[in-house]
Amino acid sequence: MKPSYDIIVVGGGPAGTMTAKYAAENGADVCVLEKTRDIGYPVRCGEAVGHDGITQFVEMQKNWIAEKINSCTLVSPEGTKLDVPFANETGYILNRRIFDYDLSRLASKAGAQIFTKVKVQGLLFENDKIIGVKVNHLGEDKEIKGKIIVGADGVDSRVGRWAGLKTTVKIRDMESCMQYSVSNIDVKRNNMTMFVGKNYAPGGYLWIFPKGDNFANIGLGISGKYSKHKSAKKYLDEFMSREFPDASIHTSMCGGCPIAYPIKKPVADNIMIVGDAAHHINPVTGGGITPAMKSGMLAGIVGAEAIKYNDQSEKFLEKYVKAIDKDFTKRHHTLYKIKEAISQLSDEDINGIARNIDSIPTEKRTLRKVFMSSMLKKPSLIIDVMRIFTGL
């Protein structure tokens, strides 16, 4: 580890390693500091991604894919099952352990240095200016100087807070999540199943994402509005004992998923915030891998430019904000509104919608039609939904 770098990235998930890759490719001297002993582990993720999302940045590798997904089944509170084949979309359930690891190798190949077991304990200041980070690396306290510090430190981000940025998640915008990776279950291959309704997962959904024969990620997220009364684990355990009493649990994991607006101000002098830490997550699906990679890429490019032009002021780093605004911020605002509209539907509303869609022949069903039908209670949102699916 060197005493100083141009850019210090805190966090070795997809947001951090993409920041490092693109910053290094564009000429910056970069390091990634990961607090755990392994990049990519522990996994705290359902691991579902879209083909078009990931291939914006990297070519899909066979060993990243645990399951190819070409349809989804939505289950209503009263049990109506809606099969929706994907038209143009292809999805995957990833092996995040391998995927994250390979992304960090790509960052390293581009010239970034990766370090694990580094606990960042605070920022270094000189006359109120951020000049680096205080760390503990393998038990030893150190100071590392950096011209730009990138907070890619996830849902429990503290880098932004230390710099005075508001990354705290409102409890109503936090999903409390629990997941088991299980075997000895009979689930449909190449298909993801999502259960909605207050009994399964109030203010969220329950998912079954297959990962090979007789194996799947089964998990759920419930809104922080409801987790006070009953925890995510209790909801999942009830579902498992009811539906899959003979399943073996190979991994159990929990975590938080911010389904909020992207934070208003993800930059300050010498600071940028990316990925989950900046709430760059699709608020409807809770999917955060693609937006994390996107904000990482854009922050990496702008960061390298800020080094090249020797200007790491907030004003210069605003270029990163403009880039994400142009790319996904507006879309996420719309998705947030859709999430809010869906969360106001009662179980009876959803049952009605499901019965309605059930009357459309399977081959004529599209994700778009399903979403459109769910918006009937608030017609103004149909226009927003149209925009999303037509890419405007």
Binding site: K35, T36, R37, R44, K117, K119, G154, V155, D156, S157, R158, R161, T168, V169, K170, I171, M174, S176, C177, M178, G224, S227, K228, S231, A232, K233, S252, M253, C254, G255, G256, P258
Partner: protein
Amino acid sequence: MINIIENKCDFCGTCVGVCPANCIDVDEASILINHKKCIDCDLCVYICPIEVLESINEA
């Protein structure tokens, strides 16, 4: 005061994300609450997916 039920925590950091007082520190295998900074809002208790935290009356 917030009590951490020992050996139950998975160190996921969800509580850190919602803590308005920024008083929780989660490491790879440890969790610490700075009780001097804690404002007893109990949001961490409500959000924890696996019920690691509990609110206890000091009286």
